[in-house]
Amino acid sequence: MPNAERIISVAEALCEATKVAMERDSKIYVIGEGVTDPKAIFETTRGLLDAFGPKRVIEMPVAENGLTGIAIGSAMMGRKPLMVHQRVDFAMLSLEQLFNNAAKAYYASNGKHSVPLVVRMIIGRGWGQGPAHSQSLESLFASIPGLKVVMPTTAYEAKGQLIAALEDGNPIMFLEHRWVHYVTGHVPTGYYTVPLTSRRVRDGNDVTIVATSYMLFEAMMAADFLAEANISAEIIDLAVLRPLDMTPIMDSVRKTGRLVTADTGFRTLGMGAELVAEVACRDMSCLLAPPVRVGLPDHPTPSSRSLAIGYYRTAIDVFDAAVTTCGVAPQTVATIRERLATKRNALPSDVPTPAFKGPF
């Protein structure tokens, strides 16, 4: 890392990325419901209107499919829209345009038209968001060839990935976990990109944990305690779900022989299902034990924090998954698990940070 520590949040990093990219490329414009409002999409679009004016920062009518089509049409003509949805759930109304046109224009035109479009969508969590404001539907988008799916984690990554996404030239679904917005870290000023690939964030020999989005942080906490239990976990941040590059995952599982997946979406038909299937289909012999998938249970997100408490997966679940697949007797690590649980359960269950006061 270059210059001295400059610590900002992922939300601030995303805003900075947008400014940097817009300064460099006048074809980029931002459009979304709320991009110019006082809340500024959780601070991620703060100041853009002042900096670039209403022609490049467009407050969008509440018409997701129509405006997605408009963004795609303009992208086919060479513009570079950055569309923002406060929730993934709202973008559901635009799946027709995303799946039928954004994902297919390049293919169906045999390479003549591309769609340089980035769609930022935020996955809600906590504060009673409930069934239709907290869906983590990345595997839905990741099931469509022609779309790219990116999930940022750290502030450094988020800024560089968003700039890279805006330069990529393909339709990119950029799914930000609402709680990832609060993650802070060192971020250089100015321009840089982070390549759109997964990355190894921790080296280990006993188990490979492939994590997405907010679950990366749960996995990292789990790994510290697994180390105390003499289980050395390797962690891969699966920042790009499509196109899915299995090479680093295969390399890691061939080394560790064990796989745990931890993602923010549903366990059934989620990203973990695809990862386990790919590993098994490619090289069954590299697996020393059945993999374990950590994901959301098969019911919608309940609103009440008393109901949601068992819904989200945490570092404790990742710890248990690793212990299971490593064939370690649970009672031998019970006290370590106890300390992890104490630490993890001390964190608030329905807000990203104790300072969060709602409402969205």
Binding site: G69, M77, A108, S114
Partner: protein
């Protein structure tokens, strides 16, 4: 872009309009005739009977102006100057097709001719065309985007979402509602309340111009006005043209026998054939002789025959190439 779009003998607008309609008719009938050979193995939505709308509008456009068509794309594509060889090859699934065999009849496009895309999801094109207009506005270009919503597509939310935004932003886009009275087998009166289609524009602060969709000159005049207005920064327009699809919704046959519409209704519309109407008028005015017509027809038929031959002779794309060009 087709080189035969505007042959030198075309001295005026009327003859150009006539030739364009005749050419669409002859291409479509050739497709209908040859469809039974089972070599054009993709759905075809023919525009026979509706040639006036595509022609009247597209001949008012410049090559750089963009159109976005629908599943019923042939007439729009041809009228705007799309390459006939690339169109037929696409329908035959050949490498030389405009999409390299990846799209078929419902995805025709020709970048050089200003045909941005054809999109087979009802209403889907409306957003894309509006977005092209947004790009023109952002770039300070004086180009215009045009799309052809069918009477059913105004039932989709995206029609209203797009008109709302186009009106708000004063975008250079023209929505040409091509009302052929049916969505597949379902009549307009079964799907929409009894109100003029043009009134939909009022909801978005626009006014619509409605004209006879089989009168190519009326269409051309209305389109010229709307396009000039858009080009001059006057914002979007809605045009409504009532016309009639002669053959089945999808495929080469007539289907007046299946029960959703009557033979009498079809005959009434056929008597008002857009191609024949203008032909009669031009002949009465002495602008077109029998010999002219024969020469024009022969020239187009030769072009069409050659295009079919080329399409049939062209190679298929390699199967392995199906996985290519998913990402830019």
């Amino acid at each position: 872009m087709s080189e035969t779009m505007a042959p030198s003998f075309l001295v005026n607008d009327q003859l150009a309009l006539f030739r364009s309609m005749l050419r669409i008719r002859l291409v479509e009938e050739a497709i209908a005739t040859r469809y039974a050979e089972q070599e054009m193995r993709c759905p075809v939505h023919l525009s026979i009977g509706q040639e006036a709308v595509a022609t009247g509008v597209c001949l008012a456009l410049r090559p750089q102006d963009q159109i976005v068509s629908t599943h019923r794309s042939h007439a729009h594509y041809l009228a705007k100057g799309g390459d006939l060889n690339a169109m037929l090859a696409e329908i035959y699934g050949k490498e030389t097709g405009c999409c390299g065999g990846r799209g078929g009849s419902m995805h025709l496009f020709d970048a050089a001719a200003g045909i941005l895309a054809s999109l087979p999801i009802v209403g889907s094109a409306i957003g894309i065309a509006t977005g092209a207009a947004l790009a023109f506005q952002q770039e300070g270009s004086d180009c215009v985007a045009v799309t052809f919503p069918g009477d059913a597509s105004v039932e989709e939310g995206i029609f209203h979402e797009s008109l709302n935004f186009a009106a708000l932003m004063s975008l250079p886009v023209v929505y040409v509602i091509e009302n052929n009275l049916y969505a597949c087998f379902t009549g307009l009166e079964q799907r929409q309340p009894h109100r003029p289609l043009g009134d939909l524009a009022l909801a978005h602060g626009l006014t619509a111009v409605t004209a006879d969709g089989n009168d190519v000159e009326a269409i051309h005049a209305a389109a010229k006005d709307a396009i000039a207005k858009a080009r001059d920064g006057g914002g979007p327009s809605v045009l409504v043209f009532n016309t009639y699809r002669w053959r089945e919704h999808c495929g080469p046959n007539y289907d007046n026998n299946v029960g959703y519409r009557s033979e009498e209704e079809f005959q009434q519309w056929k008597a008002r054939c857009p191609v024949e109407s203008l032909q009669k008028k031009l002949m009465a005015e002495g602008q077109l002789s029998d010999q002219d017509l024969a020469a024009m027809t022969a020239e187009i038929e030769a072009e069409v025959t050659a295009a079919f031959q080329a399409a049939k002779a062209a190679p298929f794309p390699l199967a392995a190439s199906a996985e290519e060009r998913v990402y830019a």
